[in-house]
Symmetry: C2
Subunit: 314 residues, 2 copies
């Protein structure tokens, strides 16, 4: 079977591992060859079936069925830059407006999260892409290298500082910030912590940005040392998730330690503790007498804990 | 054993997996709590044993032993911002000057690469961190949000747009760009490709940036589809490597496919082919009659191929 006979969606779906966190299931053809070709990009914009993702600032807009809401491309303001999200399975070019970010609901907004939780994986992936990109453009209207204004290029996948306007000509690409989120295991228990801003009784996996000059494994060890004072070995990668608040790539890992003694960084971590298999199961089940409240199912920390339980039971 | 009794180095070293690519072996205490505390930062700068990493633009400077060359902090120009690289095993604060990036040797510079290849892992990690950060500061002297000038903060780990000078007050952090680099396996062979700019006969693993709204696994599948026209399943993460040219985080993966038919993106890939275990072994050995030249040992593509050979032989 040649490339022409099948869609990218079939391809990406089959590549995904057993663990597909929320936002990680996007399969739309991102049509990179259309982005970089001004004629093909214009042709895509002119197609009668081209669609425009409806957004309310950075927030999704849902239709009556609870799906992402779309309009026609004629709904776009004429002076707006357009972002090519990709070409969908119905061969429809899909766009979003780069309008400036506008309002964003708090990530603590329960109604928003409920609605996002019910989205099919494909749609959650589309929203994640649109949210990160719209926000990135709004915060990158100027060139970090010379201070002049930048312009949208490549169907919304880059911004260029234009020499004609006295700029340096630098091209800037959307950023994606790798974040390690990790369990440590010791004597059959896992380490979870809570930040002061968490809801009551909520515990989750510790996390931190990977820094320049650091591997994922090195970052996991550093974060667990800095925040909890434990030394770990055998860092194992489990799964990843795009997290568009604003542009993280969450990389979930496990690790092991022999010494459970904790020394907390109290600026970062209000409380941390080791939880047993039964305690984690009770929390994931939402049992009333569970010793903590598990992270919500749309967070990769939930997938990480569930994977740990499955591995213990295997 | 409590946190005070051991160094972060011991911790990070034991966390690293069996595969430690070049640049991925950094273990120095990054001293995040010193960065964010102006008094502790100043105290570190005033210490008589504080060290300054010598750089020639973005290039390393080596001493007579082939190690990274260091000076005292009094060698720094008085008007230069300083980057706190960390506190080394000898309790010496280690800095680099944020001088503006200046010259950078081509990544094809054989002498530079030979010298880097002989560095102990710890030193290669220090250079990787310094190179990425010095370059990032040089390219981020202006605020991407409002165009005003930015100033160094947190010991060189952020830049802030200052309200006093009419700026918006946005804080900007160094960027790290996640890149997937991947093998595909089919019928006991692996897919490698070459770009037009590669040296003659060199083949390596295909690679591409992870985009906003995408998981690592989704990015691997997309790249292999876009560049080689194959659909893959069972994407497996193998190892990671910071790659400071300028600021990538390489994430090496394998994947599988049933159909070896290739459809190349000829803009990106000049040639691609499936290579057998014996052919890959011959290339890794540097045999004269090998059908291709393997990627160099400092590239994670080398580790990825070696890991594949080891898995086949296991």
């Amino acid at each position: 079977m040649g490339k022409e006979d099948m869609s990218i969606s079939q391809n990406v779906t089959s590549a995904l591992s057993a663990i597909i966190p929320t936002f990680a299931g996007g399969t739309m053809d991102r049509a990179d060859q259309v982005r970089v070709n001004p004629e093909r990009l214009k042709e895509a914009m002119m197609r009668p079936n081209a669609r425009l993702l409806k957004l309310d600032g950075l927030n999704p807009v849902f239709d009556a069925m609870g799906d992402l809401a779309w309009g026609g491309l004629y709904d776009a303001s004429p002076d707006n830059d357009l972002l090519l999200l990709g070409i969908d399975d119905g061969d429809r070019p899909c766009f979003a407006e780069l309008t400036g970010a506008g309002s964003a609901a708090s990530t603590g907004d329960q109604r928003l999260w409920q609605s996002l939780s019910f989205l099919p994986p494909e749609q959650a992936g589309i929203y994640a892409t649109a949210r990160s990109l719209v926000d990135w453009h709004a915060r990158h209207r100027f060139c970090s290298n010379c201070g002049q204004t930048t312009e949208t290029r490549k169907g919304g996948w880059s911004r260029t500082c234009t020499r004609e306007e006295g700029g340096c000509g630098a091209e800037h690409f959307p950023r994606t910030d790798p974040v390690a989120i990790m369990l440590a295991e010791c004597e059959g228990k896992v380490l979870l912590g809570r930040q002061a801003r968490f809801p009551t009784k909520r515990f989750s996996a510790l996390a931190g940005f990977i820094e320049p000059g650091e591997s994922i494994e090195g970052g996991v060890a550093r974060e667990l040392w800095e925040e909890a004072g434990i030394k770990v070995r055998n860092v194992r990668y489990i799964a990843s998730q795009p997290w568009p608040f604003p542009s993280s790539l969450m990389m979930a890992c496990t690790s092991e330690t022999d010494d459970p003694t904790l020394t907390l960084d109290e600026e970062e971590i209000e409380e941390a503790a080791w939880f047993s298999l039964d305690e984690v199961k009770a929390a994931l089940n939402g049992d009333e007498d569970a010793p903590f409240i598990a992270p919500p199912p749309f967070a990769i920390a939930y997938n990480l804990l569930k994977n740990w339980v499955d591995e213990q039971d295997a």
